[in-house]
């Protein structure tokens, strides 16, 4: 109500922790090899989410999305995440 809020676009990248086995990545790599792409030595499969979020400023947007990741978007037992906030959009 008080401070004017702006729209931010947040990109969230979720990947499996390094030590966790990634069958999906292995499957994709095998699929690529079958198609002849032998130059691919590794594939890791993850998730990508695009959020539209309102916040007073970029720091606030980042803090808020980080919290969403910790609480819901990411399973921190096996996954890790990275958030990047893109240019604010006109509201």
């Amino acid at each position: 109500m008080t401070a004017a809020k702006r729209q931010f676009h947040a990109d969230v990248f979720i990947t499996l922790k390094r030590l966790v086995n990634d069958p999906e990545g292995i499957e994709i790599r095998n699929g690529l090899h079958n198609l002849g792409y032998d130059d691919v030595s590794e594939v890791r499969a993850g998730k990508y989410m695009q959020l539209q979020v309102e916040a007073a400023n970029e720091d606030e947007a980042l803090a808020s999305v980080n919290e969403m990741c910790e609480r819901l978007l990411c399973n921190t037992v096996i996954e890790e995440f990275r958030v990047s906030i893109l240019e604010p959009q006109a509201t």
Binding site: L19, V20, N21, P23, E24, E27, L72, L73, N75, V77, I78
Partner: protein, 235 residues
Amino acid sequence: MKFGVVTFPGSNGDHDALSAVEYGLGEEVAPVWHKSTSVDGFDALLVPGGFSYGDYLRGGAIARFSPIMGAVAEFAAAGKPVLGICNGFQILTEAGLLPGTLMKNPSLSFVCDWVDVRVDSDRTPFTRGIDIGTVLRLPIAHGQGSYYIDTDGLDELKRNEQIIFTYTDRAGVETPESNPNGSVANIAGVSNGPGNVVGLMPHPERAFDAVLGGDDGLRLLGAVLGAATKEAITA
């Protein structure tokens, strides 16, 4: 004894759990809607299988924040019996009530089958009175059932006797072939530290009548009755 079946939007094993208790065990049972905030009056809770919230994001990820989960956590903390089946197992791990997590099957596809499961501990209310080493035949039906825990966690599970069910062959020996989903150490089900909260991927509630291919599931669901009586006596 009164069972509660905690039902989320997208749960689909709730009907089976209700039937198994009502017709299989002949005990009192009622659904508990996820928007409710109380589990008063129940002696044991079943968190059934299904696709709560469509399994979007990850199985159990959204359901664990449902209003009812606070009451479930309190119920568990009070040492009362809670059994998470399949998606219910996922929900309990997401909620931190059980250790480890469940990942996509390495085959990347859903698997529906009957498997042999060995009972490894009788310290939980759902296995009390069942001889350790007993092999039960139970259905599985899941796409995200590969139990994962890091090595330290696994050691701790072993130390505390928290591995409750293991996928084995008919003879009770764990083999790579008898592991349907790449679970660490063939683990099919675990408990929390005290042992009153148990989760497993196989479906005891679908195995309550010989005409369906087996009724071994009733032994697990029924064990809690004996457990309750025992506690009442010792209390």
